[in-house]
Amino acid sequence: MKEIVVSMQHISKDFSGVKVLKDLSFNIYKGRVMALVGENGAGKSTLMKILTGVYLKTQGEIFLDNESVNFSDTSASQSKGIAIIHQELNLVKDLSIGENIFLGREPVSKGKRIMWNKLHKDAGYWLDKLGLKENPRELVKNISVGKQQLVEIAKALSIDAKVIIMDEPTGALTPAETDKLFDVISDLKKSGKSIVYISHRLHEIFEICDDVTVLRDGELIGEESIENLDEDKIIEMMVGRKLSEQYPRIETEQGEEILKVDNLSNEFVKDVSFSLKKGETLGVAGLMGSERTELMRSIYGIYPAKGSVYLNGEKIKINSPQDSLRHGIAYVTEDRKANGIITEMNVRENITLSSLELFKGTLGFMNKGKEEISSNEYIEKMSIKTSGTKQMLRFLSGGNQQKVSIAKSLMTNPKILILDEPTRGVDVGAKKEIYDLINKFKSEGMSIIMVSSDIPEVLGISDRIMVMHEGRVSGFLNSEEATQEIIMTLAVGKDVI
């Protein structure tokens, strides 16, 4: 018999008049892992934020151990034993790992003095448990995003809550770390804790979850035990229709070599050389911290680097993103919020930001009519879900923000498109749409570099795969010969052949 710990009843939520959650109910059971799935913008994070007191619900009731509760802020939910790992990293970068883990719960002596040694020792315990080898006194800003994610998890675990909510905890984790996390989750389950697990990676759901709740457009579609479900079934519930094959890689005629990177070196990467053909999709795999992002940013002109870059056989010099775009190399960043989109600007302004010279009008005026038409074209072409060109980006769901970010790069009409983690945090439906887009660009003769931590995705989409390890290229693989195992071997720095 399942024992209900948390029951959310008839929850509704408006954001300035827009209904985001519509009279939905949600249960969390003792000692079980509840998966919460749904497309981008379905309302998963919002629902959990209501449970933890970040947002105030518009309607409905929440019961914790059959008692009606109403949390006005995070400290209230925390004190009742509910912890949450937010989807977006929420760490204080200028503080140490240990300070972050115990922020708000620092151990103090009788004299109200913080006991630093105890704090860091306790922090070390949780880091060990998650297999994170970092000094708890290290500042968070000095560790990689993946490690930061683990710190975030350690923080939630250390609260010793009875309900732990994990909103896409594995987005930045390697398979090994993910496995470690799953071990921890099993332990938690055994000790009677309850977990809500939100993820767009459905295989994970089948690995660790006991029950599944599916949301669509803020409505409850259903709650089922995992035994009664399979992947296709879940997808169907999520998107309301069947999806065809997930990785629809297409073969295209590959042309001449268009890009050649020769011995690129800087503080991040060492002697990186590779080439790219017209119409080719190059997948870039590697563990976190393998400096794939840094490599792409170095090519894009964010970081200075030694070495040469050839475009169509001609040596080019790229000192800034501006140079790069002028040469037809566009980059879609991995960190949308930080440097991909401008949340306070609308869809149109975001899409055209890199290509405003296309809309020169008379007398130095911008031709806003033309701008409007063009952005609408892209909204349609990429099926961006928005109420219009004037919608502020912060009101778009993650997947749609991602599409806007890609649209912005596309509008510059690039010959080479670099996509860094293009599907991170994007739902299955939108993922598929992005893959379709990649294929479409490819068939139009564009060359694509796709950095991704999702190995099945790399395998599914790429024509060729480059694997990186600690700033160096550790090998190239053809799509035929590549397997998950070979990629992992190269990624940890071992030679395959």
């Binding site: 800034s320 501006q322 930080a338 991909g340 930001l353 010279e357 005026f365 911008m366 912005k408």
Partner: protein, 314 residues
Amino acid sequence: MNYLKRILKNKPLIVLIVASVVIALLNPRFLTWSNIVTVLRQTSINAVIATGMTFAILIGGIDLSVGSVLGLCGAVAATMVSSGMNVVLAVLIALLLGTFIGYLNGSLITTGGLQPFIATLGTVTLLRGAILVFTQGRPISTGKTPASEYFSEIGTGFIGPIPIPVYIMVLVFIVAYYILNHTRIGRYIYATGSNEEATMYSGIKTARVKRFVYAVSGMMAALAGILLTARLGSAQPTSGAGYELDAIAAVVLGGTSMVGGIGTIGGTAIGALIIGVLNNALNLMKVSSYYQDVAKGIVILIAVLLDRKQKSSR
């Protein structure tokens, strides 16, 4: 109907209208044509500075040096005019000087990597010293030459029933509105203020955008200095001291966010008018000097409280 709604949502405008109605009821002279003209003319200097300040605040910066730029450029203009130099040339040189100082501010911030507050604070100290050295602590009269007569028209003249500084103010507003809303650089200013990194990743040289913005701010301060000097017929060594605060107040009263990325020139115009009306009314109603600051502080706080951004709804 729709217009009415938009007006009702525009809190600064409502503050201005309500304040004006109340003042007019208390003192009928407030709404006489000559007083309206007076208020507009008095507002013009702060409005011009505030326009430049709007640019600076929109990119998430601030320009504390405007008062001292005003002082220096005013003094330089006065010196040139009194020496009989061609007025147009003198004005251009003064504007260029202001633009140049603004550009240097921008370079301190971009190339130098300084935070705008501290960079322009340093400039203030330096320029105030420079003004003292330049003026030797004395006012500089524009003199009584034909050139100076011509120059003084800029500050005191009328075209029809409206003073020239008012035309200049309106022109400045229009050009600024045009730049911010209908040109690329305007878009880049908003983008830089909202998310500098994303703007940079989009292939825009944000450093260049910033230098442009501070140059504009410097130029506007210089223009205000010219207006003030022309109006007074002389430049004081202390001219412009504290003007940055009035300008910032106008910008913020107009609804521009000090975090950057959000704000309009129309708002700034209203903000400057609120301050102008307030100063005028306090004098008209003979509020004792001791109480003027109290009244001003309260009005400013109430106005910004009314217009505060709704805390992101939770």
